[in-house]
Amino acid sequence: MMGAALSIGPALLFSEVSASGGMLPWYQNIPFFSIFLLMIAGIVMPLFRKGKGGFCLAMGVSLLVAAMSAVLLVKLSANGERFTYMMGHYPAPWGNEIAAGPLEALLALMFSLIEALALLGGRKDAASDILEPKQSLFYLMMCELQAAMLALTYTNDIFTAYVFIEISTLAACSIVMARDTAKTIVATIRYLVISLLGSGLFLIGVVMLYCITGHLLIPQLGEKIAELVATGTYTEPLTIVAGLLFIGVAIKCALFRFTRGFRLRTAARRRPRARCFPAWCSRGISYCWSSSFTRCSPLSSSAR
């Protein structure tokens, strides 16, 4: 089946297109390729026995994705275009979707550059602190974290966002404990417990939102919420859902005072700044979500 698919592949590029839509402009495939390249790089990483191979693959894919995001940014900011990309054969609201505009391309470029710098800056420490067979797994986690950040930037679906938030939590915890000392493991547990609290609240918020509106894709959610606000139905649940979603993500970003200890303690001493990547990424999650909610603005207006 795979062989057949691979042989059909090149023929498709020159075949007739179906009536439902033509070939998209080539740059609109960039978000999809960025996410998948990173995830595939993460999947093949365990095959590398030495850390050097893992580092080269992670660095290479990061720079490639950064270059692709830069190209996308240039193309999209030229005419302020914003497009949606069907992940599958079915349009929204039946299938998954990712959406990209100049802001998303800029965020993707930023995350890729931060990741490349973090990999470069942490290279010596990673090579010395982490034991040889586990170095490729460290680079796996970095790739998956970057993939999760990009997927969160581009996603147009709230449940996809939840799944990739969980991926980023697991990957960030693994990166924090990469040094394999008791201190980092204690720090990881504290980070994990608070992250789980945030995830639990976020998931309950998503489930209640689905219950009220019946949609999981953000544009459809926006329309349905505007409708509900206009008719005045389910006003209290909407307000509480907005609060739950905000508090869930905010807890994960260590925005509250009681989580302040994590930000100081997760950065163990004598470690390059670049290893504070998990903290930067949690900020990144909040930026991604603030941009998503501005798209779904009736949600924020109903909270007033």
């Binding site: 069907m86 992940m87 599958g88 034991l131 460290f138 389910y234 509480i240 001493r269 004598r270």
Partner: protein, 298 residues
């Protein structure tokens, strides 16, 4: 002055933070006035713990109260006019069979309509097993000599007193479990089941086999190399099939994958392949969790 600033900047770049105590002591020196005598430390700790528990219980009670209040304003349980039963659910059932070829509407939904979420979910499982490997794979950081000695002693006792009942029953049951697991995986698109549940069943069968016959027997056919190969191949196959499906779908191209006749095993397009890949990954992962937690190696 410039040199001091540069050296401070270099220290910051290399992650050498000023220790908190030093910063605190410096800020104390800056304050000219003398503070009142602080309370003894254990009294302060007890007060803090008491306050922490009380406030945490209050937060929890408030949270549950708010959630219950919301729940009573949600759509009624079991009502057919819920907002959730809309055109989305309607299409999954009415046209799911024709579009995906799967008799199981849920399998059609998670592996075809909303396949990106399932791909993320498989990655979560893969990340978890890799994290467990990073934590528990035996190396110089996490070997405790006394525990090794104790475990060796226990293995010797175990070898001396072999559990005949366990071995005989496992001999009869494990093939049935593995066969049932494979059935659940292969029939994921036809009946309740799928890659995740079938994979867990197969993983459970492997765990029972390892527990009754010992790890050495399992290592004959399932070791670190097999694990790496199977997980990487299965996930790669999943990723490439889904990438092909997403690319052709988004660009409006025909995917040329036959849907087959509904109800047959070889039907539902890519769903059968994805179920098999996911089944392998989940089985390896479940056994991996057991092996690493009990022994620290596969």
């Amino acid at each position: 002055m410039g040199k001091k600033f540069l050296s401070k900047f270099e220290n910051w770049l290399n992650g050498e933070e000023m220790p908190l105590r030093e910063r605190h002591v410096r800020s104390l020196h800056r304050k000219k006035h003398v503070q009142a005598e602080p309370l003894p430390e254990d009294v302060r700790i007890n007060r803090f713990i008491h306050l922490y528990h009380v406030s945490a219980v209050l937060v929890a009670v408030c949270l549950v109260g708010v959630l219950l209040y919301t729940v009573f304003h949600l759509p009624l349980f079991g009502s057919p006019n819920n907002p959730a039963s809309n055109e989305v659910a309607q299409r999954y059932i009415e046209q799911g069979l024709a579009e995906t070829g799967a008799v199981n509407a849920v399998a059609g939904m998670i592996l075809d309509y909303r396949a990106f979420d399932t791909f993320g979910e498989s990655n979560v499982l893969f990340l978890a097993i890799c994290s467990v490997i990073v934590l528990l794979l035996r190396d110089q950081n996490n070997i405790v000599v006394e525990e090794d000695v104790q475990e060796k002693h226990e293995r010797e006792i175990e070898k001396a007193n072999e559990d005949i009942i366990l071995k005989r029953i496992a001999f009869l049951i494990v093939p049935c479990i593995l066969l049932f697991g494979m059935y659940v995986v292969l029939n994921g698109h036809l009946s309740p089941g799928g890659g995740f549940s079938g994979g867990s069943i197969m993983g459970g069968g492997l765990i029972l086999f390892a527990a009754s016959y010992g790890a050495a027997r399992v290592k004959l056919f399932f070791n670190m190399r097999t694990f790496r190969t199977i997980t990487t191949t299965a996930l790669l196959c999943y990723a490439l099939s889904k990438a092909y499906s997403f690319f052709t779908g988004a660009n409006g191209l025909e995917s040329h994958i036959p849907l087959g006749t509904p109800g047959a095993i070889l039907s539902a397009g890519l769903i059968l392949i994805l179920d098999i890949c996911v089944g392998f990954v989940v089985a390896c992962t479940m056994y991996g969790f057991y092996a690493f937690i009990s022994r620290g190696e596969l």
